[in-house]
Amino acid sequence: MTRATRTRAPAKTGVREDPASAYDMTASDEGIEQRTLACIVDNEPGVLARVVGLFSARGYNIESLTVAEIDRNAHQSRITIVTSGTNHVLEQIEQQLLRLVPVAKVIDVSNSSGGIERELALVKVAGKGDARVESLRISEIFRAHVIDTTNESFIFEVTGASQKIDQFVELMRPLGLVEVSRTGVLSIQRGKEKAG
């Protein structure tokens, strides 16, 4: 899943900068922020398509998305979505998600005090000599594990906040970075309560 924020269409020329019509309301680039939302949904066929379809139909961004069943007996899944938009758009996204019949709950992970976010990445680095040693040394700093090795490559497994993974990937780039696979963001709430 791409990390880049999708660029928005620039405001049409000839249209006033402040919204003059509902057609024009999303043209503003001001105050775009990122937000992580977790949806507790009934795990029924098509539920992921409903959530993703909502984002594409209403022109919202998805920067990362993870989904898996979390309670087999209750048929519940948790979908964690990293999205971006103005505060107004983000509020709408939450409400529109709640409108979907199988969505039981939407948690604003970014704005709740107890929200924890983690991501896992597999990072392949190829190299010899000093670069190879340096990559291993940095991986220790990041508490990454080596899960596969050949004479000329490592695969690191690294877990943490997305920014930490971004940093790790950047540090590996000059040391022979080959490719990266990331899970996207997972989230959970601190404390003893259950979200569903």
Partner: protein, 590 residues
Amino acid sequence: MDTQTPKQVAAEQLTGAEIVMRALADQGVDTIFGYPGGAVLPIYDAIYAQQEVRHILVRHEQGAGHMAEGYARSTGKCGVALATSGPGATNMVTPLADALMDSIPMVVFTGQVPTHLIGSDGFQEADTVGITRSCTKHNYLVRDVNDLARTIHEAFYVATHGRPGPVLVDIPKNVQFAKGRYVGPEAIEHRTYHPRTEPQDKRIEEALALMASAQRPIIYSGGGVINSGPAASEALRALAKATGWPVTSTLMGLGAFPASDKQWLGMLGMHGSFESNNAMHDCDVMLCVGARFDDRVTGRLDAFSPRSKKIHIDIDPSSINKNVRVDIPVVADCGKALKALVKGWVKVAGKPSDIKPWWKQIDEWRARKGFAYPNSKKLIKPQYAIERLYELTKDRDVYVTTEVGQHQMWAAQFFHFDQPNRWMTSGGLGTMGYGLPAAIGVQAAHPKALVIDIAGDASVQMTMQEMSCAVQHELPVKIFILNNEWMGMVRQWQQLLHGERYSHSYSDALPDFVKLAEAYGCHGIRCDDPANLDDAILEMINTPKPVLFDCRVEKAENCFPMIPSGAAHNEMILGKISGDEIGEAGKMLV
């Protein structure tokens, strides 16, 4: 009706097709609109074997969908339509999208290829749940006959609870043949979907405090009041009476408040009344109930009612703060919230607001007579035709549907409604071809009533084939065509915004509607003289079978007043207008 209790039938084994019919009967469905085909033949076999549910055979699945919408809108019940797989299902997409936009409760059944053929590009296979996912409130593909009864009951629950909408149930043919257990509607409880209907006391108190301080208040009501049921319309009337406030309404909300009441300002929005739009612009407190600040209502957003505090009552939280920021959101069923406001007003104020200067201002706007038009003795003006239609039918049990375009706006302006559920129109999606089948659906629900589709010559041809359905089922709908030989609203925009370049908006080679009526076995009437219009309308009313009325009207008449897109409520254009009054920005926003 079936006299067995659900418990007695709980263990009974029925085929999937029988389960469908049993579930419909248990849901109190008396009429469905459908069209047979390979993938629904087992259901048609079950229809053949029962008496409880009447089936109206349509001529195109789109017709079935709009008939179900008309049935639903005029009764407050859930409409039901049935179509086969593939093309049957894709033809249903327009009515589904229409019902979603206008919040019409509807359950649509489609056949599907057998489960083992799904995904094989089988004959008449389409990914129906995929195609309809974004034009339904919810949809289901039923792969196991033992899930069928529960799914159908759940579909009715979802369609009619919260903000109503269309729900589709896709049933593979082998599931229709398979035997399984039936469960009654009482056993169903939805896992997650429990929309809030009771207003929060705190919000009602805040709203009442704001309302008590109002100097220039207005009630802006919408289709939600009609969806909520007759009690909501009663509560709206009670609140208007208690507060003495002026009332306006959206296109979808007409009839919830009586047009004959002196507090009624007429419809608001792009072609709404001069007084309602100016009152919206200048008000200090706006009570929006069951409406959604649609772009045709707000006009230019940054100039929309700039000095008002806004209260918004809506059952759908996503409607609140979507287009317009409001000060007091009330998430609730309209009827319940309005009742709470009526009750609370007695304590907070106890008498109508003292707003004489505001009414004086409104009366000045009224005196501008925004709907005035120059009449003619030679030609029938479309406005005059609707005025006469209203005068000659108002004392009857009358229901009106429309197509989409100029005639729709003139109908909204010149036909007046004192009761809810009497006015069926495609508001959100703007579906040309809605009115004729919708009228048939209304007539099926109200066999003795006078049901009129106020139509345009272009729109009516989109679903004209359903005249054959009306004749077959002896549903004497009256199709009153304002025939100006143009796609009138397109022509109007081309005149005003596109330099009078009338690109493909003239309907050359129109059919002879009178002969067409006769070909269908209906009665055809043509009138082009204002002096004969009353007699012709009376002839239509008194004909006990379907009628196509070809009312030849002034060809170049424009629909005014009008807020050009991109303009504000207080920038309404009355009567004659020159093209350069609409700016470049406005043109783009049409």
